[in-house]
């Protein structure tokens, strides 16, 4: 089995018959140090490369990427002032400046926590540690390229949201490619989770864990536990991963989430603070820290997190308006409403939309109120009430809660009660949220009244759904469809109502035949679900059922089998 002893050829960098013509590719080198750019250019030239562009800053790189399609990008992680290599990568990916086949190699002086343990959504194709030598460069280029080829079809299916097909492709590819097997299995598990198959995903993670104790696989099992509502078991798993590898940032973020889900805010905040210390340059993490600290009334910590968030956001496409609003609240509580209002003006300048206006107005009111200017706070509250009354739609849950808090504080009563009941009806099975709503009622000195309101709102929601399910089970399908349509109007974000709506629409078509309008309706409902809460267990199953209804996709017997299975499943659930 062993190769015969061989004298290493003392010839130009050995290109292992990889079949890739690196000479014809188009390259971009991004580094702030001219010496390194020259060195990299020499290394690329020794591979035969002729088309090589250079950029000395992130901004310059983005300018080039917007105009020219590159095959290979060699980008330094640490670019001095301005955008970092990660910022450039994120912006290029989000703005769609990279071809799918483009290989991105991130160059860094040392193995940084961000680089290796980055829970960062956008990862380069490979990292290379300095000093770079031709041999390492060529090996990593070839490897990244081969990996791209293996993942090509899978990535395509992923983009089409056909998660189940992509997962099957992963399985087949893993059997053929020993070297990339672990990566393919990891991808497969991610896809199965997206497709609402957590048990299958868990099986993949557990298979990997039998071979090696990979942090991501253990964290993956924890995420499934959390998705199934077993927050305490999940917490223990994340804690275990951190105990073994203090740099695995994803586990911190997940641990914070599991604690949050159990209502343990202070601990969640502590975890985020530790993670932010290890890796301070993540916008989402600093935002989560700021929001949690603000909820806990830890003004100093919230201010630090939001300021850091703004600072990183300056160069990042991931910048968030939440940091502006959060910092404005902090400034209000520090009795500096002037500065806070400047920040709100900046938010409306840098971001746009009706939601931004609404949230600016809420924050303005809270700032006035918290800095003791009750007259102006009342005025903001009145303006907000007016904005609301002209609008039937309600914003997302956190915004509704903030708005209710403000309106109570400035002395309005009916509008916030209506908002809170709306929130509870839309989340009738989320106990932690009910507690939060109760606290808002308590603060407004409406504790008992609030408890009764929460109770009746929950009842209202479940009665509404039960009636729809009853109509469905007694086979009054058109009536069930019509009832659920009304239910969605009053509870547009209730997950159970949305899923059952889609299920009933599908049953209707299974029983009475395909109908273009019902098809569109079911599809719209599911896309709404995917927007407000992606990765749900039932989402992929319903999408698959829906796909099969398209004429010509399935035989009559299959439809019959699906129909009875669906009714049986629901019977077990309800």
């Amino acid at each position: 089995m062993n190769a015969p002893p061989a004298t290493t050829p003392v010839a130009p960098a050995p290109d292992k018959a990889s079949g890739i013509n690196w000479a014809e590719k188009r390259y971009l080198i991004v580094d702030d140090f001219v010496g390194v750019r020259q060195l990299l250019r020499e290394a690329l030239r020794s591979l035969g490369a002729r088309h090589i562009d250079q950029a000395s800053s992130g901004g310059e790189a983005i300018g080039l990427l917007a105009r020219i399609q590159y095959d290979v990008i060699l980008c330094d992680f640490n670019l001095g002032e301005g955008k970092s290599g990660q910022h450039v990568l994120e912006e290029a990916r989000i703005r769609g400046l990279l071809m799918p086949s483009c290989v991105w190699l991130m160059v860094s002086a040392e193995k940084s926590v961000e680089a290796v343990m980055g829970a960062a959504e956008h990862q380069p194709d490979a990292y290379i540690i300095k000093p770079i030598t031709e041999g390492v460069l060529l090996t990593r280029l070839n490897r990244a390229w081969q990996k791209k080829q293996i993942f090509q079809e899978i990535d395509q299916a992923y983009l089409e949201k056909d998660y189940l097909r992509a997962a099957k492709l992963c399985e087949a590819a893993a059997a053929r490619n020993k070297l990339h097997e672990v990566d393919l299995l990891r991808m497969r598990a991610t896809l199965l989770l997206k497709a609402g198959e957590p048990e299958q995903a868990r099986a993949v993670y557990e298979k990997v864990l039998q071979e090696r104790d990979f942090n991501w696989a253990r964290t993956g099992v924890g995420k499934i536990r959390m998705a199934n509502g077993d927050h305490e078991a999940a917490r223990q798993m994340f804690q275990g991963v951190i105990a073994e590898n203090r740099f695995y940032l994803d586990a911190y973020d997940q641990l914070a989430k599991s604690l949050q889900n159990m209502g343990r805010l202070q601990e969640s905040c502590d975890v985020l603070e530790r993670a932010a210390k290890l890796s301070p340059n993540s916008v989402p993490r600093q935002r989560a820290l700021g929001v949690t600290a603000l909820k806990l009334g830890n003004i100093a910590l919230a201010e630090k997190a939001f300021r850091k968030c703004l600072q990183i956001g300056e160069y990042s496409i991931m910048k968030t308006v939440d940091a502006y609003f959060g910092l404005a609240r902090v400034l209000g509580q520090k009795n500096d409403p002037k500065e806070a209002l400047l920040l709100l003006a900046a938010a409306q300048r840098d971001f746009s939309g009706r939601m931004i206006e609404l949230r600016s107005k809420i924050t303005e009111g809270l700032v006035y109120h918290e800095s003791g200017d009750y007259r102006r706070a009342r005025k903001s509250g009145d303006e907000l009430e007016e904005m609301l009354s002209g609008e039937r739609e309600r914003p997302d849950t956190p915004t509704c809660l903030e708005m209710a808090t403000l309106l109570f504080a400035v002395g309005v009563k009916d509008a916030p009660v209506e908002l809170l009941c709306y929130v509870v009806r839309n989340n009738d099975d989320n106990i932690v949220l009910h507690d939060e709503v109760q606290r808002i009622f308590d603060k407004a000195r409406m504790g008992d009244e609030g408890a009764a309101l929460i109770q009746s709102a929950r009842k209202e929601a479940s009665e509404m759904m039960n009636k729809g399910v009853l109509l469905w089970k007694t086979n009054k399908l058109p009536e069930a469809v019509a009832w659920m349509r009304e239910a969605r109007k009053s509870l547009p974000d209730n997950m159970r109502i949305l899923f059952n709506s889609a299920q009933i629409l599908i049953s209707h078509m299974q029983a009475k035949g395909y109908d273009e309008a019902l098809m569109t309706e079911a599809n719209d409902v599911l896309m709404h679900v995917d927007r407000i809460a992606p990765g749900q267990q039932r989402f992929a199953q319903l999408i698959e059922q829906l796909q099969k209804l398209i004429p010509g996709r399935m035989s009559a017997e299959e439809i019959e089998a699906e129909l009875s299975a669906a009714l049986k499943v629901d019977h077990d659930e309800e």
Binding site: P5, A6, G35, A115, L179, R274, K277
Partner: protein, 233 residues
């Protein structure tokens, strides 16, 4: 789970200084390698040639020490190092090492032979192991006469890497340092111990099924000189 991060400002300062120094060393190494290649074999009689080869050797040592110092600072100042094991094709590991050392070895007139199972895949932190083995080869450059052998094989669930040379063998102090490394001995009292300590820490961070990696130093081996052995589970 409390943090003992020490001084983050100092760490940031060190990290950015290292970043700068690494850039300089990259350029220095690259330039020297280019010069040596351009000079070609015919220049070997020129008295400047061996001096340049020596410069390249020293530059590589400088880089190794920088990597070690940084890792050690992280060990001391922070709880551990971001460790990232992935499956690696062993043949690619050898390719990268051979390519990294090619110019240096050629300029010093040293022959490198390699032997490894062509299909073997092992799970390891590629950059850490590459750094460790590059250091071992640099070290062998110092002790060898004219030959270095890099041999990899799989044995009893371990991957064993041997870096052997045909020199006079390691001095006794070095062998002794190799024996006590990782036993809590103060490596700072022994200069050759620093590299060994680093190598031992890297090896030990590789764990699998209750077993962990290790290093060893011997004299003898197939070439009769010094022999550095790395074993990873």
């Amino acid at each position: 789970m409390e943090d003992r991060a020490g001084s983050p400002e100092l760490f940031m300062f060190l990290a950015s200084t290292v970043h700068d120094m690494k850039n300089s060393i990259s350029v220095l190494t690259g330039t020297l390698e280019n010069l040596l290649v351009q000079a070609g074999d015919s220049a070997q009689d020129n008295p400047a040639y061996p001096q340049m080869a020596q410069m390249l050797y020293q530059t590589k040592r400088l880089n190794d020490h920088l990597i070690q110092l940084l890792a050690l600072y992280k060990e001391v100042g922070r709880p551990d190092y971001p460790f990232d094991p992935t499956p690696v094709q062993v043949s690619e590991l050898v390719d990268q090492l051979a390519a990294q050392q090619r110019v240096l070895l050629q300029s010093k007139g040293i022959r490198l032979t390699t032997e490894f199972p062509p299909d073997l895949i092992w799970t390891l932190d590629e950059d850490l192991v590459l750094g460790l083995l590059a250091h071992a080869i640099n070290n062998a450059v110092r002790y060898t006469r004219d030959q270095i052998a890099l041999t990899i094989r799989e044995q009893d669930g371990f991957m064993e890497v041997r870096v052997e040379d045909n020199g006079a063998g390691f001095p006794p102090a070095m062998l002794q340092a190799g024996q006590v490394v990782g036993q809590g001995i103060n490596f700072l009292t022994n200069s050759s111990g620093l590299g060994l300590y680093f190598a031992s820490e890297v090896a030990k961070s590789h764990k699998h099924r209750q077993r962990q990696g290790s290093i060893a130093l011997e004299n003898g081996g197939t070439l009769g000189g010094g022999c550095f052995i790395l074993r990873l589970p």
